[in-house]
């Protein structure tokens, strides 16, 4: 199920403005890759190119190739909507649908697309996804209650369950814990470590220690100045980046001299 992602010379534009410049890196299946870097360096922009979400903004486009198991997501006959069905995303602020119950939230990927799901299958999917997201025990008695009535950490796990219910190849997480308290953060980090056994995960994080805790490989991005494009500075095993980085800029960032 998990897929291999290759970015080849990817540059991201908003209209004429180049936001990210020439990124090339490979992400292996069943690994956790962290994108780190100071604010505005383009890491959120880049992660959104992996499921073509940045195109929601009018005028945004991409140069270069993004290959998933060899298939270019930006090929001429590829529908962005299809891409998004195969790549799941979890956002910085939990966003369960307030008009839907917990059960319907998990099934949202099917229901919103008018996909027919047999009731018994649906129950299985809900249970499996919530269990995988470590939320089943807490909500199994109130599946019909609205999705908005949970705590922040629970809502985020619900969003994760929703994302994995459609069995994507890849899971993208854009600062998933920055709006949560430390205990919920820990719960989600543990979850990520479990999920990587089945999915390829890419996570953007502001929190270097988090990257150090949960990722296998880390990509460090930086920006020369305001209005300049973000660039990939270094991409390596997490242990190497944190203990023994190659570039000086990486070391400066890790040790807190800027950012």
């Amino acid at each position: 199920m998990a897929k291999r992602i290759e970015l080849k010379n990817v540059s991201v534009f908003y209209g004429d403005f180049r936001a990210v410049d020439d990124v090339t890196l490979n992400i292996e299946p069943r690994t956790v890759t962290a994108f780190i870097g100071p604010s505005g360096c383009g890491k959120s922009t880049l992660i959104r190119t992996l499921n073509r979400m940045h195109e929601v903004i009018p005028g945004a486009h991409v140069d270069g190739k993004v290959l998933m198991d060899g298939r270019n997501l930006y090929g001429p006959d590829v529908d962005p909507v299809d891409v998004r069905r195969q790549v799941g995303m979890v956002f910085q602020r939990p966003n369960p649908f307030p008009t839907m119950s917990i059960r319907d939230n998990v099934l949202a990927g099917y229901k919103l697309n008018n996909a027919r799901v047999a009731k018994s299958d649906a129950d299985d999917v809900v249970e499996k996804s919530l269990k995988r997201a470590n939320l089943w025990k807490e909500v199994k008695d109130r599946l019909d209650k609205p999705g908005g009535g949970l705590s922040g950490g629970q809502q985020q796990r619900l969003c994760i369950a929703r994302a994995i219910a459609v069995e994507p190849e890849v899971l993208l997480m854009d600062e998933p814990t920055s709006a949560l308290d430390p205990i919920s953060t820990l719960a989600i980090e543990d979850l990520v470590s479990e999920l990587k056994q089945e999915y390829t995960i890419v996570i953007v994080t502001h929190n270097m220690q988090q990257a150090g805790r949960i990722s296998d490989k880390t990509a460090f991005f930086n920006i020369d100045g305001a209005g300049e494009p973000g660039k990939l500075i270094e991409f390596d095993d997490t242990a190497t980046i944190f203990a023994n980085p190659t570039k000086k800029m990486t070391e400066d960032y890790i040790s807190g001299r800027f950012g």
């Binding site: 998004r84 990927g109 919103l112």
Partner: protein, 348 residues
């Protein structure tokens, strides 16, 4: 700043207000004591307010200095402004209720004016006419208004969207009588100048209703957080399904409220209906055929064309006014209830 100011007791000002009213009550009664004129309530209050304003200003001036006195005067003026707004409201509602109750009976609500001269008769034909015409107007305006709002919020970019939004603004400013003239002009073109038709009235009302629906729906749709749309796109849901199944259900309470308020606004419109729907004394269920009576026109007509026994006509006019106000208030309160109950529960 050498003078220290005397703190006035908390109860001083309210007592002063009462005293002023007492003085003014005496003042308005004495000149007319020989006659048995009714107590000039309004005059007493108005005079009392003036006395209070002057006295409070002077006393504050002496006790606390000019700056505080000026502040006191402005506070009084602001309160008076509010009171002046409330007085007509109270007068209006109490007049409508007291004078309208005289004929607000079963006969009024269940019979028309057919063959009625003088006493008796009712407004059933007008009530039915109002319901029919307003429903047709709603059936035209709600889809167009809602879809246009969706266009402006979710899809519109560039010149067309800017033109549409500017024109919706222009439409909000069309006087109701001009909308009536427009409907007349359109139907006269096809049917000749003598045409009067319930449906034409509905068209005129739609011209007035559409911009209200567009503006309020637009606001409600913009309030839906963009993160919900993003979550839906990230699940691979195409845009039109996102709008239909995520945005609209989230905004539905506000949309319904806005629609109810727009209906409340047009249901009392008289001028356009006077022009194109005309007036009649009998029931007419067919909006495409001949004149149709509506409640606001009924009120106007009952007043302006009084036959023998003017009191009966006047009573019917007020009863019609009461019915109209009841309907409008029910719609307004209903809209508030809907918005309070059906609001989606977002995270705490």
């Amino acid at each position: 700043m050498a003078r220290t100011s005397i703190r006035l007791n908390r109860w001083f000002l309210p007592l002063l207000a009462l005293a002023s009213c007492g003085i003014s009550s005496i003042a308005v009664t004495i000149p007319v004591t020989p006659t048995s004129a009714p107590f000039n309530f309004l005059g007493a209050i108005a005079l009392g307010a003036v006395i209070y304003a002057i006295l409070s200003f002077l006393i504050t001036l002496i006790a606390q200095g000019p700056r505080v006195a000026k502040d006191r005067m402005m506070t009084t003026l602001v309160l008076v402004a509010f009171a002046i707004a409330v007085v007509p409201l109270v007068s209006l509602i109490s007049t409508v209720v007291t004078l309208g109750l005289a004929r607000f009976d079963r006969e009024f609500l269940t019979s028309s004016m057919r063959n009625v001269v003088g006493q008796g008769g009712g407004a059933l034909h007008a009530i039915i006419g109002t319901l029919e015409i307003t429903s047709i107007a709603a059936m035209i305006s709600i889809p167009i208004g809602l879809l246009t709002a969706i266009y402006l919020v979710e899809y519109g970019r560039g010149r067309l969207a800017r033109a549409v939004t500017a024109l919706v603004d222009v439409m909000t400013g069309i006087p109701s009588i001009v909308a009536g003239l427009f409907a007349f002009a359109v139907f006269a073109l096809f049917f000749g100048p003598g045409i009067r038709m319930g449906f034409a009235g509905a068209v005129a009302l739609s011209v007035l209703m559409i911009p209200v629906v567009v503006r309020s729906s637009e606001e409600m749709l913009r309030i839906v957080p963009s993160e919900l749309r993003e979550a839906s796109y990230a699940l691979g849901v195409p845009k039109w399904l996102t709008v239909l199944k995520v945005v609209l259900p989230t905004a539905v309470a506000g949309l319904v409220t806005g629609i109810m308020i727009s209906i409340a606004r047009v249901i009392g419109e008289t001028a356009p209906l006077l022009i194109v729907a005309g007036f009649t004394q009998s029931m007419n269920y067919n909006p495409f055929n001949e004149r149709m009576m509506t409640l606001p026109v009924f009120v106007y007509f009952s007043y302006s064309s009084q036959g023998t026994d003017t009191q009966a006509y006047l009573d019917r006019a007020w009863a019609g006014a009461l019915t109209l106000i009841v309907i409008v208030m029910v719609l307004n309160l209903g809209a508030r209830l809907v918005s309070r109950i059906a609001r989606p529960h977002t995270s705490r």
